[in-house]
């Protein structure tokens, strides 16, 4: 049976737009690809919670989750080079819709989707594959790229370094890949004035490099770090180093011997707080967090820091508290 049609463009322009604005995000994104003339009708102003993905070709996926947009590059999303696929994120309704968009480059399709949500101010980029031609990056109209993630599958150090150098303005970096060959490149990342730096186990840094870190929120998982290193780090903070630091989380080797922990506060002037004493700090996402108790130290300017041992001592948090 032939499908019944509806002459949408014969309605007054405002009403046509009203119809399009009644479509859920997924249908509106698909509608925008009908023609250049339809695209402006599908633009969604404002930043609102959303939940869908758009796969562009074989290597790029744009995820809209809550009010954030993540852009992932991977080896193969099994969609086909000229395809676009739009679907619900996670357990949303329905199955993805997939179609051919011949003659459109990946950047054109990517920019088209980004243009539909003009008020999303930041993008988080994750690269799971080094097959992407970095020379094409200028063609992509990213919002301000605030966060860059290099997972452990990223083994091509020169690609990783090139990415980090291209996105010089990112405020958050998550590194899980193997350590770069060049110490100079490593130093240049560690000394960046970042909001958040997360360095996970495959990217090993030594104690001297740890002292170079100049970020506000630091997450570090490194089996080579010992209780003595943390003790030295805290002493240096007390004497005035790392003035930017707001939060430091160390994930330690779970084989570390217990006596190693004893030395973490050796030689420092500390005070164990009762659990009834509450302290508050702002986490890396801007949320206020309340903690109870902990061990209090102060730096030379009287600024308070609290050390907390968590989960059988394998996770140590150091939090700078504003009085």
């Amino acid at each position: 049976m032939a499908e019944e049609s509806f002459p949408l463009l014969k309605l007054p322009v405002d009403v046509t737009k009203h119809v399009v604005q009644c479509m859920p995000d997924i249908e509106r994104v698909i509608f925008s690809f009908c023609s250049k003339r339809m695209k402006p009708m599908a633009v969604s102003p404002g930043v609102r919670p959303r939940s869908f993905f758009v796969t562009i070709g074989e290597n790029c996926e744009v995820l809209h989750e809550e009010t954030y947009r993540d852009v992932n590059w991977d080896l193969d999303y099994y969609t086909g080079e000229e395809k676009v696929r739009v679907g619900p994120f996670m357990n949303g309704r329905g199955t993805p819709i997939i179609w051919d968009q011949p003659g459109w480059s990946m950047a054109e399709r990517f920019n088209h989707v980004c243009d539909l949500f003009p008020n999303i101010e930041t993008d988080k980029l994750s690269f799971y594959s080094d097959t992407f031609d970095l020379n094409l990056l200028p063609l992509f109209r990213f919002s301000d790229v605030s966060e860059l993630s290099l997972p452990e599958t990223m083994e091509n150090s020169s690609f990783n370094v090139e990415l980090l150098n291209y996105f010089k303005k990112v405020d958050r970096i998550e590194i899980c890949c193997i350590r770069f060959g060049s110490d100079t490149e490593i130093d240049s990342i560690l000394t960046r004035n970042l909001h958040m730096l997360s360095i996970q186990r495959y990217f090993e840094i030594n104690f001297e490099e740890l002292l170079l870190i100049n970020s506000r929120y630091v997450y570090l998982s490194n089996p080579d770090l010992t209780g003595k290193h943390i003790n030295m780090f805290l002493k240096m903070w007390m004497s005035g180093s790392n003035p930017q630091l707001r939060y430091f989380r160390f994930f330690l080797d779970d084989l570390m011997e217990l006596e190693d922990f004893d030395c973490i506060l050796t030689g420092t002037n500390f005070q164990t707080l009762p659990d009834t004493e509450e302290s508050q700090y702002v986490d890396s996402d801007g949320d206020i967090v309340t903690i109870h108790g902990g061990i209090r130290i102060r730096n030379k300017d009287g600024i308070k820091g609290i050390v907390e041992f968590k989960e059988n001592y394998y996770k140590i948090e150091f939090i700078v508290i504003d009085d």
């Binding site: 049609s5 002459p7 949408l8 399009v20 009644c22 698909i30 179609w99």
Partner: protein, 201 residues
């Protein structure tokens, strides 16, 4: 006078005249007449303003000719007034500008709009013309629901949307219609190309 000093008067409630419900008469462009309650009319900003401006009394609405609505036929107007009577007294929603617009279609509205797309088109057009916000919302939502699960090519067929190529062709045709000389020049150019000439001028 202060509240304390106001005179206390016993009121005989039975003596208070009950306000008579007023029904306005409207006529469609195919001369069908409808009687619509004052409260139902409030769903339409356009009609509400119109009757307020007319200032009819209950005698006027009976004695004067029905108010003509010249752009809407009887079949469509019947649906419009059925909807207004069913939803009379309900608050008129205010658009907060959010996209997508969150619109639920109630059961009554779904049954009312179980109609062919031609009549649905007229209903939307009427809801917009008469400025009936919620009727416009639900009818637009019904049309929006047609997009579910479709690719761009399928959407172009459902909504009769021209492709980029068709838009370009229509634009060229419009330009040529405006400037017949441009078409002549283009034809001349094409003819010379066919003849193997590589310079037009």
């Amino acid at each position: 006078m202060s509240v304390e000093n106001a005179p206390v008067v016993d009121v005989d409630e039975a003596a208070i005249p009950v306000e008579k419900k007023m029904y306005y008469r409207f006529e469609s462009n195919d001369k069908k007449e409808f009687r619509v309650s004052e409260l139902a009319i409030q769903q339409s900003e356009t009609l509400n303003r119109l009757v307020e401006a007319m200032g009819y009394t209950s005698e006027d609405v009976e004695n004067k000719p029905a108010i003509a609505i010249e752009n809407i036929d009887g079949k469509t107007l019947k649906l419009v007034f059925q909807w207004c009577e069913h939803h009379k007294g309900e608050a008129i929603p205010v658009d907060d500008g959010s996209v997508p617009k969150i619109v639920e279609i109630p059961e009554f509205d779904a049954k009312l709009m179980d109609i062919d797309n031609g009549l649905l088109f007229k209903l939307i057009w009427a809801a917009d013309y008469l400025n009936i916000v919620q009727l416009l919302n639900v009818s637009c939502k019904k049309v929006a629901n047609m997009a579910q699960g479709k690719t761009p090519a399928q959407l172009r067929r459902v909504y009769l949307l021209p492709s980029d190529e068709e838009d370009e062709a229509a634009k060229r045709a419009a330009q040529e219609a405006q400037d017949p000389r441009a078409r002549e020049v283009e034809e001349e150019f094409e003819e010379r190309k066919r003849q193997g000439g590589n310079s037009f001028f």
